[in-house]
C-alpha cells in the first residue's frame, strides 16, 4: 500500500472535515452523522492519548464521557441555561472524578488496570441509573436543549442550524486535537511514550512513572469529558447508556480500528465504525450481533487498524 505523505494526509483530513456539511448530503448521508463522527473522534483521540501513547489500557472511559454529558445536561436544565456554563460544569465534573479515581488505579498494570477501570466506570452508571430524583434514571435527562452561543456582539444559532453546530463541534475538536498533539510533542509526551515502550527502563532513568500515568489519565479524561459535553449538546438529551461499559468498549474498538499508534487513527476508526453502525442499525434488528461480529473480526484479522496497516510497522 502506498505510504501517505504525512503533511498531505493532514491537509486531506482537514479539507474533508471542513467541507463535510457540503459533501455529506451529496453522499447520501446527513450532517448530524458528521457531527457524531467528530464528537466520537474527540473522545477516542482522548482515549488514545492514554491507550496508544502511554500504553495503559482503560476500559472505563465512558464514565468520564458520561459525566461530562450529565454535568452539561443538568446544568443547562436546572441551573444556568447557557451552553458554555453547561460545558464548563460537565468538564469540571468529569475531570475531577478522574483525578480522584486516578490514584487508586495508577499503581495497577495491564489487565488488572483494565478491570478496575471497568468496575469504577460502572459506579457512575449506577449513580445515573438509581439517583432517580436528579437524573430521571433509565429514562434520561430530557426536556432541555443547547442554547445559542452569545458572543456579545452577535449570537450564533447552534440550536436550530445543524451545520453551525457541526462547525462548533469541529472547532472544539480542532482545539483539543491541537492541544493533545502539542502535549505529545513536548518532553512530557516523549516521556509517556518512553513509559509505554519500556516502563522499567523509564523507572531506572528516574521518571516518576505512576505520577506520569496519573497525569496522562487525567488529561485523557479531561478531553473525553469535553467530548461528553458535546455529546449531550448534540442529542439535547442524555441517558445512562452514555456512560455504560459498552460505550467504553466502542471507544476502544474505534481506536484499534483506526490504528492506535497513529494520531489520526481514532478519527478514521470512529468514522468507519459510526457509518457502519448507522447503516447496520437501519437495516436489521440484530445489529448487536453484527457489531459483535465486527469486534471479533477486527481483533482476529485487523488488529493494527487502517493506519497501522498503511504504515506497516510490526505490532509491539
Amino acid at each position: 500500500m502506498p505510504r501517505l505523505d504525512k503533511r498531505a494526509g493532514d491537509v486531506l483530513i482537514w479539507f474533508l472535515l471542513l467541507t463535510a456539511p457540503y459533501w455529506l448530503p451529496a453522499a447520501g448521508s446527513y450532517v448530524e452523522l458528521g457531527t457524531r463522527v467528530v464528537v466520537y473522534a474527540l473522545a477516542v483521540t482522548a482515549l488514545n492519548f492514554l491507550l496508544g501513547y502511554t500504553g495503559v489500557l482503560s476500559f472505563g472511559h465512558a464514565a468520564y464521557f458520561g459525566l461530562g454529558a450529565y454535568g452539561t445536561a443538568l446544568t443547562i436544565k436546572y441551573l444556568i441555561p447557557s451552553t458554555p456554563a453547561g460545558m464548563l460544569v460537565g468538564i469540571v465534573v468529569g475531570t475531577a472524578a478522574a483525578a480522584v479515581i486516578g490514584p487508586m488505579i495508577v499503581r495497577l498494570r495491564g489487565v488488572y488496570f483494565a478491570m478496575c477501570t471497568i468496575a469504577f466506570g460502572q459506579v457512575f452508571y449506577f449513580i445515573a441509573f438509581q439517583w432517580f430524583s436528579l437524573t430521571n434514571g433509565d429514562d434520561g435527562v430530557s426536556a432541555w436543549h443547547r442554547m445559542p452561543l452569545d458572543l456579545g456582539f452577535t449570537s450564533i444559532d447552534i440550536l436550530n442550524n445543524s451545520t453551525a453546530f457541526y462547525y462548533f463541534a469541529l472547532i472544539m475538536f480542532a482545539i483539543c486535537a491541537a492541544a493533545m498533539a502539542f502535549l505529545l510533542r513536548s518532553p512530557f509526551g516523549h516521556t509517556l511514550v518512553a513509559i509505554r515502550e519500556n516502563e522499567r527502563r523509564a523507572r531506572f532513568l528516574g521518571i516518576p512513572v505512576d505520577r506520569h500515568i496519573w497525569m496522562s489519565w487525567v488529561i485523557s479524561c479531561f478531553f473525553v469529558s469535553i467530548a461528553g459535553t458535546l455529546f449531550a449538546l448534540m442529542n439535547n438529551f442524555v441517558d445512562p447508556r452514555a456512560l455504560r461499559w459498552d460505550q467504553s468498549g466502542n471507544f476502544v474498538i474505534m481506536a484499534v480500528l483506526g490504528g492506535m499508534r497513529s494520531f489520526w487513527g481514532p478519527l478514521i476508526g470512529s468514522a468507519i465504525f459510526l457509518v457502519l453502525q448507522d447503516y447496520i442499525s437501519s437495516h436489521t434488528e440484530n445489529w448487536m450481533s453484527f457489531i459483535g461480529l465486527f469486534f471479533v473480526l477486527i481483533v482476529l484479522f485487523f488488529p493494527r487498524g487502517v493506519l497501522g496497516i498503511m504504515r506497516r510497522r510490526p505490532l509491539s
Binding site: G110, V111, V256, N286, M288, L300
Partner: protein
C-alpha cells in the same frame, strides 16, 4: 427486624455464592490465559436457556447435569477457534474479542428464545418454604447453596488433588516451564477454559430457577464478579471465593439499612481495598 436482617443476610449469601461461582470461572481463565472473559455472563445465559430447552426431555435433574457440560463444550469450541490466536498478545485484544462475543451471545439468545422473560419450572417440593417463620428459606435456595458449595469443593479438589489441577496451578505460576516439562499447554488451556465456562453454565442453570430467564441475565452478575476478583485478590482462587461471598453479604446487609446503596457499596469496598491493600485480600504481592 432480626427476621429482615436474617433474610437479607441469607439472600446476600446466595447472591454472593453466584458471584463467587462466576468469579471463580473468570479467575481460572484469567490466571492461566491472561484473558478477561467478558462473555462469561453470556455463557451463564446459555446455560440457563439450554436447561430450559432440555428440561422437557431430560427433566429437572437431567437438565441440571447436562446443560453446564454442553456450555463447557461450546466454550471449548470457542476457545479453540477464537481465543487461542490471542494468547501472548496485548490483553486489549482478548478483552475486545470477548466483548464482541458477549454482544453476539446476548443477541443470539434473544433471537433464538425471544426477548421476553421465560419461567423456569423447579420441582414443587423444592420450591416450598422449609419453615413458616423463616419463609425465605425455600428448599430451592438451600439446595442451591448446597450445590454451589459442592461445586466449589469439587473445583478445589480438582485443583489440589488431580494431575490436571496441579498443571493448572503450575501453569498459573510459570506456563513456560510447564510447557518445557512436556505438558501440552494448548490442551491445558482448553480444559481450563472449559472448567471456567462449566462454572458459568452451572451458575446459569441455578440462577434461572430463582430469577427466571432473560437474555440479559448475565449482565447483572458480571460486574460484581469483577469486583469479587479485585477484592479477593488477583491470582488467588480462595480470595476470589471469599471476595464473592463477602460482597454478596455486605450488599445484602446494606439492603436492610439503605436499599438504594446496595449496588454502590460493592464499589466502595473495591475502592477501599485498592487504597489499603491493592493486591486484594488474599492476593500475592507483586503479581500485578
Amino acid at each position: 427486624m432480626t427476621q429482615l436482617l436474617l433474610f437479607n443476610v441469607f439472600n446476600g449469601l446466595i447472591i454472593g455464592a453466584f458471584y463467587a461461582l462466576m468469579a471463580l470461572g473468570l479467575s481460572l481463565i484469567l490466571n492461566l490465559s491472561g484473558v478477561i472473559n467478558f462473555a462469561h455472563g453470556g455463557f451463564l445465559a446459555i446455560g440457563g436457556y439450554l436447561a430450559y430447552t432440555l428440561q422437557p426431555y431430560l427433566g429437572f435433574w437431567g437438565a441440571l447435569l447436562a446443560s453446564p457440560f454442553l456450555v463447557a463444550l461450546i466454550g471449548i469450541a470457542i476457545e479453540r477457534v477464537l481465543i487461542r490466536p490471542l494468547y501472548g498478545r496485548d490483553p486489549l485484544y482478548g478483552l475486545l474479542l470477548t466483548f464482541g462475543l458477549a454482544f453476539m451471545i446476548e443477541d443470539g439468545t434473544r433471537f433464538i428464545w425471544g426477548a421476553q422473560s421465560l419461567p423456569y419450572q423447579i420441582p414443587g417440593w423444592l420450591a416450598a418454604p422449609l419453615s413458616s417463620e423463616y419463609f425465605f428459606l425455600t428448599g430451592y435456595r438451600v439446595f442451591m447453596m448446597i450445590l454451589v458449595a459442592a461445586a466449589v469443593l469439587g473445583l478445589f479438589v480438582i485443583l489440589n488433588h488431580t494431575r490436571l489441577g496441579l498443571r493448572i496451578r503450575a501453569g498459573t505460576l510459570d506456563l513456560e516451564t510447564v510447557s518445557v516439562l512436556g505438558v501440552n499447554v494448548r490442551v491445558l488451556r482448553s480444559l481450563n477454559f472449559g472448567l471456567g465456562i462449566y462454572l458459568a453454565g452451572l451458575a446459569g442453570v441455578l440462577a434461572v430457577g430463582m430469577l427466571g430467564l432473560q437474555p440479559t441475565i448475565g449482565d447483572n452478575l458480571i460486574m460484581p464478579s469483577f469486583i469479587a476478583i479485585i477484592v479477593g485478590g488477583l491470582g488467588s482462587l480462595p480470595g476470589t471465593l471469599a471476595g464473592g461471598i463477602l460482597i454478596g453479604v455486605v450488599s445484602g446487609v446494606t439492603t436492610v439499612f439503605l436499599p438504594s446503596a446496595s449496588e454502590a457499596v460493592m464499589y466502595v469496598m473495591m475502592a477501599a481495598v485498592l487504597i489499603v491493600r491493592p493486591r486484594g485480600l488474599l492476593g500475592e504481592e507483586g503479581r500485578f
